[in-house]
Symmetry: D2
Subunit: 432 residues, 4 copies
Amino acid sequence: MAAIFELSPRCRELHRKLTDFVENDCLPAEEVYESQVGTGDQRWKVVPPIMEELKAKARSLGLWNLFLHKGYPEGPGLTNLEYATLCEITGRCPRIAPEALNCSAPDTGNMEVFAKYGTPAQKQKYLVPLMNGEIRSAFAMTEIAVASSDATNIETKIDRVGDHYIINGHKWWISGAGDPRCKVFLVMGKSDPGNESQYKQQSIVIVEAGTPGLEIVRPMTVFGYDDAPEGHCEVKFTNVKIPVSNIIAGEGRGFEVIQGRLGPGRIHHCMRAIGMAERTLDLMIARVTDPSRRTFGQVLARHGTVAADVAKIRIELNAARLMVLAAADKIDRVGAKGALRDIAMAKVLVPNMLQKAIDLAIQAFGAAGLSQDFPLARFFAGARALRLADGPDEVHIQQLARQELLRGDDIRQKHDAIKARREQIFANNSKL
Amino acid sequence: MAAIFELSPRCRELHRKLTDFVENDCLPAEEVYESQVGTGDQRWKVVPPIMEELKAKARSLGLWNLFLHKGYPEGPGLTNLEYATLCEITGRCPRIAPEALNCSAPDTGNMEVFAKYGTPAQKQKYLVPLMNGEIRSAFAMTEIAVASSDATNIETKIDRVGDHYIINGHKWWISGAGDPRCKVFLVMGKSDPGNESQYKQQSIVIVEAGTPGLEIVRPMTVFGYDDAPEGHCEVKFTNVKIPVSNIIAGEGRGFEVIQGRLGPGRIHHCMRAIGMAERTLDLMIARVTDPSRRTFGQVLARHGTVAADVAKIRIELNAARLMVLAAADKIDRVGAKGALRDIAMAKVLVPNMLQKAIDLAIQAFGAAGLSQDFPLARFFAGARALRLADGPDEVHIQQLARQELLRGDDIRQKHDAIKARREQIFANNSKL
Amino acid sequence: MAAIFELSPRCRELHRKLTDFVENDCLPAEEVYESQVGTGDQRWKVVPPIMEELKAKARSLGLWNLFLHKGYPEGPGLTNLEYATLCEITGRCPRIAPEALNCSAPDTGNMEVFAKYGTPAQKQKYLVPLMNGEIRSAFAMTEIAVASSDATNIETKIDRVGDHYIINGHKWWISGAGDPRCKVFLVMGKSDPGNESQYKQQSIVIVEAGTPGLEIVRPMTVFGYDDAPEGHCEVKFTNVKIPVSNIIAGEGRGFEVIQGRLGPGRIHHCMRAIGMAERTLDLMIARVTDPSRRTFGQVLARHGTVAADVAKIRIELNAARLMVLAAADKIDRVGAKGALRDIAMAKVLVPNMLQKAIDLAIQAFGAAGLSQDFPLARFFAGARALRLADGPDEVHIQQLARQELLRGDDIRQKHDAIKARREQIFANNSKL
Amino acid sequence: MAAIFELSPRCRELHRKLTDFVENDCLPAEEVYESQVGTGDQRWKVVPPIMEELKAKARSLGLWNLFLHKGYPEGPGLTNLEYATLCEITGRCPRIAPEALNCSAPDTGNMEVFAKYGTPAQKQKYLVPLMNGEIRSAFAMTEIAVASSDATNIETKIDRVGDHYIINGHKWWISGAGDPRCKVFLVMGKSDPGNESQYKQQSIVIVEAGTPGLEIVRPMTVFGYDDAPEGHCEVKFTNVKIPVSNIIAGEGRGFEVIQGRLGPGRIHHCMRAIGMAERTLDLMIARVTDPSRRTFGQVLARHGTVAADVAKIRIELNAARLMVLAAADKIDRVGAKGALRDIAMAKVLVPNMLQKAIDLAIQAFGAAGLSQDFPLARFFAGARALRLADGPDEVHIQQLARQELLRGDDIRQKHDAIKARREQIFANNSKL
């Protein structure tokens, strides 16, 4: 991390501890974890036991729920910038470390929602076990039939009938829904589709796993990965009936809730991506400097293009990191809403940088880079998905463009003033 | 295909028949095939029955063994250029159509080897059932411990002991080795590691499936795909004993054999990749013009960047196709050796074009593009692997560079002549 | 050139002669020519005498007016494909060779217009001296106040008053207008701005140099080049009065005339760009293999990235050339209108390829590459301008996209048919 | 600028004043300045009078010699970070503003050299008038015959003969050498070419303009620009005789002197490039939102690709700025030597970003973007040259790569430790 962002002594201590934990506990556990994931019938029924060991250790080290930033009394009180720098470390081991710290999506965002908007009863029932790492959760937003990158397209119905809501909808890419520990879904739908404001039609409600009418249809794959045990599932809601007390924040506030949820979450994703990029670069450097691997008589790193690729990854990685940290810092200073533009820029830049870095690393590895023997191919799938998750590149680019283009009138006015002043100078000069 | 390459009436007829077969038989069979691939214990034991139906139909239509070009009396006598144009059509359905026509790698290359170098007994035992589509085969070259993109690195030992060879080696990425129908391996190793010529140390031998000491260790995955039932397997040879009659062409001719094998094979891969790109573009166009999918009030194709991406794919696709066809044509005119440079250029250009095209298409599809519901993610894995298979981009680029750079002396001489002539002109002019 | 395009014996002979002429006469004359271009007051008054010598020699060699293809009785009767291959050779020396052969823009396009649409009197007065290389000409289309890449925006007025037209308009980037030999302008304007068809409002008229009201305002520069003696000038038409007999083809046919004019012209530009790219690559190879230039102990070509750049330029250059030749061939077979899409693809691909190639070459040259000592910087300016001339990339891309996207309905129908067939197969299989 | 870099109140005040000065005085003076540059015989004899007016005003505003950072008692005591942020503002008007503030290269670097290494007599004679803006200076390093990006290649001889040095050498690209005010050259050459250390062979000496044997051969052009009145000149030193007191720092210290000179200078170049990029983006936005410029019925910004380009420039620009500021900050904290890697990264990233941004802007402008009517083409020439000045991209990339690759052994050791720990976990688990 660029030293320009000074860390507090407390944060430096967390860094040290977390780095140790990731290197000595999480990275060595990766293959163990994979070997413990269920196969065949057991695919979606087993949670690798090593994860519970790691969670216990992380908690005992004080590396627990670090994501809940200063604004939340339940958390350890880190700033977004501080937590972002920690995310980079967990990002080096993305399948294990975030969950071991109880800091993995979508639980973190859901816990924030419960902490910020939950009633005391909701907190007791869902937030407490989530913060204890006893259950997991899902966030059901993306729909199969509409372009959900534009959230106003969402079609799931949340109809009030007496003291209940009846939910009907068809979602997919619901991360974590396949996990046997997933006990609660936050579901976005339209409770007031006729509202004249496109942004007040949506509500978010709580649906517990096992509620009749809630069907986990199948896991989706990303490239060939199903990401068991969490999974990214197709989920159907057919006349799902829940009490009205299961509303989050109140009817019509769904848009507001997700807006607050997404900003910092994107920064966490981005910083973990920075960590993935660092590990990718480490793997590549180790491979291309390996004295036992030679082509045409030379260690790979002696081939100029390979070395140049290493340098280019380093440059783009460091630039991308600065951008995420600057966005995190801005959230701390002016809030997530004021930092929307900075977050969007990081959200576009980082996954593209990561995808490109991994692609170069794979090329240096040869076919091994595509296989289960190294984390590169899986990282690639994650990077590629991140260019679509939480809004595809195009949506962020379009919004950034719109804001920049608003400056057109001002600039043209300034240009007119410069031109007027120029003509005056020419006139003065010609008088001489 | 650019009309500049005139097809013979016979080839046009094959085009028509093959296009029908792919559209009406192969593409509709894709999901059936996937549903018939074994799961769990049966993963590597089952061959989807639909494939045998399709093979029977293709054979009855005269769409069988088309790959065996003019040089082989056993084949239908197409030119490389003609067969290349047919490969584009099968490439639209790459999991099904090539095999249905008995034209899929690695069998095609292996059949060419048997046809060209096989003894009558070898032909009878292996070529006949291969050409009948009764068995399948593998080509065991890439090794786990060395950078195999430089084939002189190969370490597998083929030691002669009396009337036998004893083979010891550790290979991986052996395509087709997982298939229950795979009955024969062509294995590359060093029979004369001390030979002063780096290109005469290698031999290729025949190892039948089931020979003691031949162990299929595990399937490798590409991104998350294991490509069952064929698979790309890790394979160990431990004191595998075969009769000396199992040598191909003779001791020390391994390099020569693979050189002849790889050229046209790369062109076939490239043309299938062109077909994959065409299907990718079709899928993208269908999606972005789908009137039911709108973001921010507009069909996707109305967003300028999406439309521009479609055009850019089209331009690069057409340029790439011309390059492959020109290379195929050159093979026909001067042989594979004389066309090495053209083949190498196509081999670099095409998979990169395809990878980029699919990446853009995925972005237009959103998360669906990454999933099992569309062929894009699997195509991507194939494109990415093709940048490494048969030599990574870097090796071809390096060889192309070397050849270009050889021109340096000639060019400098020409420049000197131009300079001398220039000074003469200046001198003449100044006299006036 | 890819050997796939077989040249006739006559064309092969022209190739040989032209290659000799360019290497032995034109390239040695480059610096002589530059030294003869006027400076100071004489900038726009002098034509380098060496040019007239070269023209005489080219004519005596039968290398004269080659551009006038088969369709024109006045010309030597080459096909577009044949002439395109000759353009590559002149493109190696773009400031000298095309003009020496009387084959340089905008004269070639203007001569085609006169040959195709001119009255006998117009032909006698303008076409004859143009074909003799006695005068030069300009084509005045682009306007200063509107986005002229959309030709319907053109605002110049051509008003009929009795037996005359009165022309008022403000143009710029009128190539050749600065040349003292430029005797005739073809001017595009609106004679019928109220016509309901946007494509029938325009006419083209002849304005002779020296006509009152025709003012050459200033030369425009491209990167710092003014391209004297031709120049790309700002030109004003203020109540310019010409006889009605100066109309080309008839009122309202302006659009039709430029459509026919632009297609083959773009191909010629593209093929000359291919020649520029070949010379760029030659220069780069000569430089990086120069044994006297070493960095960090090595000849530049030994640095892997430089060698890789050479190979990448080669690959993209060859692909681009195939694309231009295929488009030229299509013009020959189906006419310029039927080849619009092919021409547009070449027009996008080639200048981008060339710009990138030169940029890489400049980087290999260091600062020398930017200077007057090598043609690279001037080539770059030409390549960059070509991405805007005759329609910017964006316009061609948009039109290509539109055509591709029209296929959407067809593809979706086909997909529906495949789906129906698939369900049938599943149904049949489940019956078993 | 990212708010994360807090500016002191004093620096904020300088920002305000400088922004006013650039917008109200410098930008309006641009065309005046160009119109006052000499033409014909006067090209290298005239200094535009407006420049002296602007210098007087800047000095009166306290905007003078800001570059001399904290380490120099003669300067205003800004940090490198603070001065960098001011460079961005002057970079918006790069031909005028830096010189108006007496902060333009190569004078700034030369003044630093005199301030740091100069004897009292040298300071009195050269530093005082330079800091007063009364004279200008040049730095003569790059040579015509060798690849000077590797400074050990330099061949100019500085031979001691009695109390004098005799200098013989052939340089080019000596910026400022054409300026009539240029009174002093710092010349790098080899005083001890046999020294066993490659880094102790060089010395830097002072040569006054007008010294016999010092010949300004010609101005070099960058694309078509000669950048009068400064110029980038070819310069010959033929038996140039100077007193030994004209040595800088002492014999053999040439390498040391340039190392210290280049670091911060690169950062200033980079931050001015950021300013150029901001102005480029402003120009582009003003153009594409101009309601009077429409293509195909729409303001340019409504075409999706144009808007996306604007957003992409913004993202890359902001990332690049952060990188430069982080490097400047690091210089402040650990010195230029400790920040070498950060400086190199910025030096690669920024000019490439700028070149790409200008290229996109030119495309949006059409041909006007290439002309003298807008600063884009000249900016492009500057950006392109900056990729070569102070070491081409390749040299920085190679050095960055070398440093990264040094980490190989450490990473492999860590991987071994992880592997050992992993096997332990597997062993423990299998015991259960």
